[in-house]
Structure formats: structure tokens, C-alpha cells
Amino acid sequence: MAMNAPGYALPCGRDVETAWERLDAVAAGLADAHERTCPHCQGAHASLVVLRDATAGLAADEEAPPPGLTGRIMAAVRAEVGRREILDLPCEEPGRARISEQAVASVLRFAADTVPGVRARRCRVTPAGDDRQAIDVHLTLAVGYPAFAATALAAVRERVTAAAGARIGVRLNRLDLLVDDIYPA
């Protein structure tokens, strides 16, 4: 390696890192007197320009992962999904109908997402006391700023309540909303 470890000083006493930091200045014609005449600095400059161009090429390279990688990852993930709380659904015929907390949470999050300026985040669903067909929900939200309007939380409450009844068939006993983040919108 022609460059001297460890400081990578050039034979003229300057170092490669300085040449790197001054790449744009030198390219813009702002080279100092030394840089204008020193072959070592000029050589380092030329090499670093090549490196910078090639680096940009590497960063822009969109070489794709093998097809099906997403599917293989998700198959492994789905095999490990642990179902938490299971809720009973109303069922008038003999037999049982049950739904996982995750499934309920997904439906309720979608309902909240339909309100402009609102993104549902965490959603905890628990049975409300002994009533296996009523739920308590704790829903965390991010709201878009400045798109968010004060009336939006009332709309979230309305739509989540409606979705619990109409989409899932359980009664929403209690809904706690927590706005804990904002996003630009």
C-alpha cells in the first residue's frame, strides 16, 4: 500500500482526509497555493473523486434480493405467531366462535385509520370483566400535524365503536385513546 499508515499522510505532509474534506472546494477552483502545485495532493484528489463517483454508483445500485425472500421470511414469522387473548364471539347455534386479540386489534386499527390525520399504533384488547362478549380497548395513536383536527378523536371513538359492533360483533365497553406521537401531514 503506497499510503503510509496510520495517518495516511501524503509525502508532502498533508493527509488524505484533508484532501477528502477539501474535495468540493478544490473542484470549485478554491485550491490553495500548495494544492495547485503539489502532485501528491492532486493525485489524492483525483483518486478520491473516482472513489466518490463509484461510491455514488454503489449507493444507487438497486440489486434486488432473490425472488420470494419476503415470502420465506413471512412464512417463518407466521409459524411463530403467538396468539394471546382469545375472545368469544356471539354465536346462536351450538358450537363456539372465537377470535384472537390480534385479529380484533387489526379491525379496530383499520377503523381508526379511516379518520383523516390519524394513524392507529398499538392496540390492546382485553375482555371486559366477566362478559366474554364485551371488550376494553386501549388504542395508541399518532396524529398528523397540521392535518389533525380536534374533532378527529370523537370520530375515532365513533368508528372504532361501530367497527367493534358491526365488524366483529362484540360490545365496546371502554375505549381509552392515547395520542403519543405526531407525524407530518
Binding site: 499510503m3 495516511y8 488524505v16 482526509e17 473523486v49 449507493a59 394471546r84 367497527a163
Partner: protein, 202 residues
């Protein structure tokens, strides 16, 4: 106003809510929060978003598509299992890069001592227009890929994370277990060596 109503919401639609008339992809923190609740589709959104850059990091570290794919699969499965341990939803992406880097370093340590890495990538379709320039750029990128294989794995990791993947010095420092100052030094040395190896191209 949104046109989506509760009645039209479908569990299979993608995560693209309508905000006003602007269609916005959900931010990482929202997807991470949902994934922590066990929402597999939200996690899939994160996998789709980050598998490609992580695969490319693995490919440049390991110079093997198969090994890079294995690393990315392991990382996403491990992260799914450990999502509950994540304190801050916003730290998720840094965590992905950290785990990917460390897995790659482990793979390299487990290989037979320094078999010279022969990169098997760089069959790059030329973007339209300026074919000569594109060919020149491709050749330079291939040369750089070859030069990278001659750095130490730790140097290569630091340089790639910073210069190609745009990660912060602080994050890289945590990843490789060094101070941010040491990371800056490693990257400077890597840059000087790479520039020297790119000399024939100037």
C-alpha cells in the same frame, strides 16, 4: 376528505391510508408499534421496506448472494421474536442494520481464514442513456466492490454503513462496539485505502 369508510375497509388492503387526497405510506414507527402488537401484516410492510437494503449490505459484506439471503432471513426472524424487547419504536431500523452487520461479521469469522473474496455480483443492467458513461460507472463500481473485499471486515462494515447506507457515526459505533471517534478513524483509513485501490481509474 377521505373516501374510505369503515364499511370499505378490508383486511387485505395494503397499508396506504388516504390522508386528504395524498396517499401516504405509513411511517416506520407506526408499523413497528403494530408489529409489536403481533400484527403480521405490519411486520411484512417493514420486511418489504428493508429487506433489499439489508440484502445489499449483506452482499457487499459477504460477496455471496446465498449467504446474504440467509443473513437477512435470520435477522428478520430474530427481530420478530425480540420485538418485545425494543424500547423505542424509532430505534427499529438501526437495530436491523446492527443485527445484519453483526451476523455478517460472524459469518466472516466462521469462514476459513481469508479466502480471497471473489465478488459474484456486478452484472448490472445499464440505465438508459449515456451508455459509455454508464459502462464506465459500472466498471468503477465493480472495481470498488473488488477493492472492498480487500479491507478488513470491520473496516468494510464501517465504511459501507456510513458511505453507502448513510447510517450515523453514533449508530455504527454501537454496532461495532467502538467509540464514534474510532469509527471515524476506521472510515478515514478505509477511504484512503479504497482511493489508493481506485487510482488506476482516475
Amino acid at each position: 376528505m377521505t373516501k374510505v369508510t369503515a364499511g370499505q375497509t378490508d383486511l387485505t388492503v395494503s397499508y396506504t391510508p388516504q390522508v386528504g387526497s395524498v396517499s401516504t405510506e405509513l411511517d416506520d414507527a407506526t408499523l413497528v408499534a403494530r408489529a409489536r402488537d403481533g400484527d403480521v401484516r405490519a411486520y411484512e410492510g417493514l420486511v418489504r421496506r428493508y429487506e433489499a437494503p439489508l440484502f445489499r449490505l449483506g452482499l457487499r459484506m459477504l460477496a455471496s448472494r446465498g449467504d446474504a439471503e440467509d443473513v437477512v432471513q435470520e435477522v428478520f426472524l430474530t427481530v420478530w421474536r425480540r420485538l418485545g424487547q425494543l424500547q423505542d419504536d424509532g430505534a427499529f431500523v438501526g437495530w436491523l442494520y446492527r443485527m445484519t452487520t453483526n451476523r455478517c461479521l460472524n459469518v466472516l469469522r466462521a469462514r476459513r481464514p481469508t479466502v480471497e473474496l471473489a465478488p459474484d455480483q456486478h452484472e448490472e443492467p445499464a440505465p438508459g442513456g449515456q451508455p459509455e458513461r454508464a459502462a464506465q460507472t459500472n466498471a468503477q463500481v465493480a472495481a470498488l466492490t473488488g477493492a472492498l473485499a480487500r479491507l478488513t471486515p470491520e473496516q468494510r462494515a464501517c465504511w459501507l454503513l456510513r458511505e453507502v447506507h448513510g447510517r450515523s457515526y453514533d449508530e455504527i459505533a454501537v454496532t461495532v462496539g467502538a467509540t464514534a471517534t474510532a469509527v471515524r478513524g476506521r472510515i478515514a483509513r478505509a477511504r484512503a485505502q479504497l482511493a489508493e485501490m481506485m487510482r488506476p481509474w482516475r
